[in-house]
């Protein structure tokens, strides 16, 4: 069982990207051969904090300039000389623009490179649709040898980075820009391949990832007032996916809602549907971006506009419950 955040810690809001530079610095200080490769966004991704943390780190951050394809290749080459390379940039460029480099160089060769761009999803906010990456999970999950991890908060992001460093081969970690409440206690160790039950319930299962985990927990409070009890699962590891934790919960509740700040096609919703269709077909509803690009607005406005907020999860749970009762 994982340790959930105390009330005081939960009041701390931090973006998952904040974990990147400081965790790399800690891993390097522990003696791990960490290098970071970025593409003119070392300040935004926080990779610069890794370089600034110690004199020894200064020449371990490689800034490729605005050249993301080269960034992936350089990380590949560094990994071939014994280093654990972490890549930066924003998720839209750090996965989408370099899909072929990730597929054909990193994954096909099983290189020890961790793909850790930041600013994934609509939480980028005002920069608009060109910068709001909503297909990254779908792209990365489809690549053989690739592992995909989605931290729900700052602590999970630290845990994900640590877990990735000790897992050989390519790992994609989805990091965001928006400050979100801490859900886990400090220094919680999370494992790639696991989902975590954050709140137990009996009427419906809500499995969420990233920023949607917090929305799911808020939806739980709303539903409790109406006498509906939902179980909330954090799908920390999308690939490999923890089928047993989902199925155990689904067997208990009889219906499922999947929620993600990502296209409904190819990410968590698809993964959940694939598992349920094959092993335990029951009513399932989705809270996700539909077949659409994002747009400019604040993160909070966009959550409501695109129906990714807690009330949207409440609505989806009620739909699933209604289908269960038919």
């Amino acid at each position: 069982m994982v340790n959930l955040a105390s009330k005081e810690h939960a009041a701390t809001r931090k973006a998952t990207r904040e974990a990147l530079g400081v965790t790399l610095a800690k891993l390097a200080a522990e003696g791990q051969p960490i290098v970071a490769v970025d593409a003119d966004l070392a300040g935004s991704t926080t990779m610069q904090r890794f370089a600034d943390a110690a004199d020894d780190n200064k020449d371990k951050l490689f800034n490729c300039g605005i050249a993301e394809q080269n960034m992936i290749g350089v990380a590949a080459g560094l990994s071939l000389t014994g280093h654990i390379a972490f890549t930066g940039s924003f998720a839209v460029f750090g996965t989408g623009r370099v899909y072929d480099q990730i597929r054909n160089t990193l994954a096909y060769s099983k290189l020890n490179v961790k793909i850790t761009p930041t600013h994934a999803g609509i939480s980028v906010g005002a920069d608009g649709g060109s910068h709001q990456m909503l297909e990254d999970l779908s792209l990365m999950r489809g690549i053989p040898h690739m592992k995909v991890v989605i931290p729900a908060d700052y602590e999970a992001a630290c845990g994900a980075l640590r877990a990735a460093a000790k897992t050989p081969g390519p790992v994609y970690i989805r990091l965001g820009r928006a400050a979100v409440p801490c859900l886990y206690e400090e220094a919680t160790e999370l494992e790639i391949g696991h989902s975590y039950v954050l709140a137990e319930g009996s009427d419906a299962t809500v499995i969420a990832c990233g920023v949607e985990v917090n929305e799911a927990l808020m939806a739980r409070e709303i539903l409790l007032e109406e006498g509906i009890s939902i179980e909330v699962i954090d799908a920390f590891s999308l690939k490999p996916f923890d089928e047993e934790t989902l199925l155990t919960s689904a067997a208990k509740t009889g219906c499922v809602v999947a929620a993600e700040e990502h296209s409904v096609r190819g990410g968590l919703c698809s993964t959940v549907a694939e598992v349920l269709a094959r092993r335990h077909p029951i009513p399932c509803e989705f809270v996700a971006m539909q077949d659409a690009f994002g747009k400019s607005a604040s993160y909070e406005e966009l959550l409501v506009f695109f129906k990714l907020d807690a009330p949207s999860i409440v609505e989806a749970v009620k739909k699933a419950l209604a289908r269960k009762r038919i």
């Binding site: 490689f62 490729c64 300039g65 050249a67 080269n70 350089v74 990380a75 480099q101 160089t105 096909y108």
Partner: protein, 278 residues
């Protein structure tokens, strides 16, 4: 090996390339034959440090085949260098083989990285050059690109990066055979003189006849020992399909296997090139 012996080795490897591709019924003879003298000079001319008993030897020089479709050239070079038995060459492109159509580093320890999607090798080589420098290792990094491949934008991202990083331990060799799948590079999308482009990015540029083995050995030996902070580009003028009269200078032989009759003629022509070694 002296340069005559390296030439003989290259001739043997040309025959292997044609036999392998002939047997497989598909593959890329043109660009394999254009770069085989370069491979022979690197591996048999005393240039590169390697150990066939220990492919991951710490002091080895790194070789990346960025133009991954020339896999038959790489495979025959590695087999002749002793990394695996030459008999295995005939398994090229067959189900279950370690010799995939394009190199797969998971199947062969002596292949540093999988390649095949063009334009990526120079970035990888630059990354390894950075990593070796960080490790305070003296190893050199050699990477072989095609001239058509240099149309890929990533090559120039990497060229910029390598010069900025001062990677004097990096040697990029361009197999400039002047042809790509759709025809002459100058007609498909003329990139001009590639050496001038590398020079503009701050590289030290050498030009050489890519089939003159003594000249290749001399140049590579010099570059391996070079100090300084400029990465090195070698523009090697070559002939696509070199060594087989009906393949030379023909874009049509980029990715086509010879039939039995063509194979026999090609092998006969190459046998005529053999130098009597007493």
């Amino acid at each position: 090996m002296d340069s005559i012996q390296v030439q003989q080795k290259a001739n043997e490897m040309r025959k292997d390339i044609l036999r392998m591709i002939g047997r497989a019924g598909s593959g890329h003879p043109g660009g394999s034959l254009s770069c085989i003298d370069i491979c022979a000079a690197l591996y048999f001319g005393g240039v590169m440090t390697f150990d066939p008993q220990n492919p991951k030897l710490e002091s080895r020089d790194y070789f990346f085949l960025s133009k991954g479709h020339a896999a038959p050239a790489l495979y025959t070079t590695l087999a002749h260098a002793g990394f695996f038995p030459p008999e295995e060459l005939m398994s090229l492109r067959q189900l279950g083989t370690r010799l995939q159509g394009h190199p797969d580093s998971n199947l062969l320890d002596c292949v540093e990285v999988s390649t095949g999607s063009l334009g990526q090798g120079l970035s990888i080589a630059a990354g390894s050059a950075c990593g070796l420098r960080l490790n305070k290792q003296e190893n050199r990094v050699f990477v072989l690109l095609g001239d058509g491949e240099c149309e890929e934008g990533q090559v120039w991202e990497a060229a910029n990066f390598a010069a900025h990083q001062g990677l004097g331990n990096l040697v990029a060799i361009v197999d400039a055979n002047g042809l790509q799948i759709d025809g002459p590079c100058a007609e498909v999308c003329d990139a001009g003189e590639i050496g001038e482009k590398f020079a503009a990015f701050g590289w030290e540029v050498s030009r050489v006849d890519g089939h003159d083995i003594p000249a290749l050995i001399e140049l590579f030996t010099k570059l391996k020992a070079a100090d300084g902070e400029k990465p090195h580009a070698v523009i090697a003028s070559t002939i696509k399909g070199k060594g087989v009269s009906f393949m030379e200078g023909q874009a049509g032989w980029h990715g086509k296997a010879p039939n039995a009759e063509q194979l026999a003629q090609a092998l006969e022509e190459l046998s005529g090139n053999e130098v009597c070694d007493g």
